[in-house]
Symmetry: C2
Subunit: 375 residues, 2 copies
Amino acid sequence: MRTLLLLTVLAMTVASTNCTLTAQDLVEFDTEVYATGLDAPWGMAFLPDGRMLVTEKPGAVKIVDTDGSVSLPMTGIPEVCACGQGGMLDVQVHPDFENNSLVYLAFAHPIMQGDDKTSFTAIARGELKGNGLENVEVIYQADEKFYTKRGHHFGSRIVFDADGYLYFSIGDRGEQDKAQDYTNPNGGIHRIHDDGRIPEDNPFVDVDGAQKSLWTYGNRNPQGVDVHPTTGAIWAAEHGPRGGDELNHIQKGLNYGWPTITYGINYNGTIITDQVAKEGMEQPNWYWKPSIAACGMSFYTGDQFPAWKNSLFVTALKFGELHRLSIHGGSVIHSEVVSKFEGRPRDVITGPDGNVYIAIEGETGRIDRLVPKSE
Amino acid sequence: MRTLLLLTVLAMTVASTNCTLTAQDLVEFDTEVYATGLDAPWGMAFLPDGRMLVTEKPGAVKIVDTDGSVSLPMTGIPEVCACGQGGMLDVQVHPDFENNSLVYLAFAHPIMQGDDKTSFTAIARGELKGNGLENVEVIYQADEKFYTKRGHHFGSRIVFDADGYLYFSIGDRGEQDKAQDYTNPNGGIHRIHDDGRIPEDNPFVDVDGAQKSLWTYGNRNPQGVDVHPTTGAIWAAEHGPRGGDELNHIQKGLNYGWPTITYGINYNGTIITDQVAKEGMEQPNWYWKPSIAACGMSFYTGDQFPAWKNSLFVTALKFGELHRLSIHGGSVIHSEVVSKFEGRPRDVITGPDGNVYIAIEGETGRIDRLVPKSE
């Protein structure tokens, strides 16, 4: 199945001219189905050999071979709480994977408390051997007192920066006021070493009672986190309330305001706050109103689409859209919808081949990819 | 005629809740026709008494009374070249109008050169007396050698800053390379005293051969210019090539790149340049791709719509749209389409009553206004 998609930039007049169109003017691509038969794919990560790890939210991780064929569920995968928005969520590969074979998973970690099945976002790692993980250990786990029966806002996106620090997100877990309180792990971006140790320069390491892994707080449900390819800055897309999806430049120790300030309202139409800005709280670098239900995001780092180099792709659950934002000097200077998909795009990453891979949840869970238009 | 327009932010569920909606969450407005029978209205300016001056592109200026009734054409108005995009374009009122009655006009000034009717953007001022201007003088006029038969890109938007300097725009007049050459007045924002004298601190006053009135250059066709209500910064919307409409923060002496860099291509699909960025040239703060055909723009300074305070309104000829951009810390952090109109919205300003006035060119040239929704 191939679908030809043209950006709206060009009308048919182009075909009749003799000029050479350059990349920033003409971006034509085909959308290919790369892998099918996936059950609610949520996160993707490429291995150095070109194979892809993909999570399935109900609780599996699979390997997609370079021909798009999908493996059996990997063995050695931790049990998850497939509850509400929880499950097996993101996957990431260690920057030095070729030497240590380490794979990281973010998931809804279940604990029985009395008769209650509670969960919280946790991070595990293990060594990839064949079609399984070995020596799996949970390297981040919150105190049991934070575990909850709620199925909301797990965050869960994982990324490594150039210095090897591991960042991951945790949503407010449906208890929004906790996002303003750094004595709990809810509603923030966390930063740890690759083995789970707390970096000594984390912003709250010397604060009594604070969560030492927190890097920022006041984040509602960041489901997209990535490192800017040239500046090294951390950016996060925050799945917000209605009208309050945000894109933030994530900086050490800062408070991103949720729920004290927001551009959104509750989905039932009730008010969260009457403030959109406040001293000591960061403004978003971008907000979507109406909401797009932002999920996975990543910067495009390939060579197949020069016009998209370093652009930020953001998936939108609400309209099945893939958005592209141009960022210059820390500011968003352009936003467009690149494509629409059947289903809910959950994650987007650049492949080692320079194509753009999109994990799509839907009746036929699958991975699509955008490739340069064939002649 | 009243049309009820609701922002898409709210679904009908809101009506059934008991909460109090605050302004940033709910912006409801009616669109009223304020004045009709206008011939291609292009620029608007309010007088302190609440009446409005409006230009008609073919060559007239009229006064719209507070009840929306339109005067006969004002007397004493300079002759214009109603050629192509040229004509009677913008109008502005002196900040000290109550004492000096001065009104400013930007227009396509005609000069016969041999058998050729040529024109260039000029600025005139005169004293408003009754339904006419008296003591009219042209305070800015380019050297005759720059006049051209071309009907393209006059720029022409006028604004005063808080210090009383007068800024106005001139497009590249269809000779795009001239925008990169500050020895001609094409393609730039100009800055003069209210009587036409050149400020001593203009960036090119000491440069041999330069146009002393230039404040910036490398601007294609800025048809919207305004002063940010809190920062005092000058912003300009530049009607670009296809895919290259820009919003720029206008700063002294800087080069905005046209046509050396642009995100757009020619309307016939041919390439202008393969560069979107270059050292020594400014990136836009925002660009529209696909183009919207940006025209007049202004910051909202009224109290009728608190959620819109200090937002930037931009008119779009292409889709008949009114766009609203939120600007924070010099960056655009949100963009939305507020409304669509029949016709081509040419200009938008805040009225002294806090309502939003839009001049619309079309079969029935008129001025619409957005007012808070009636109960």
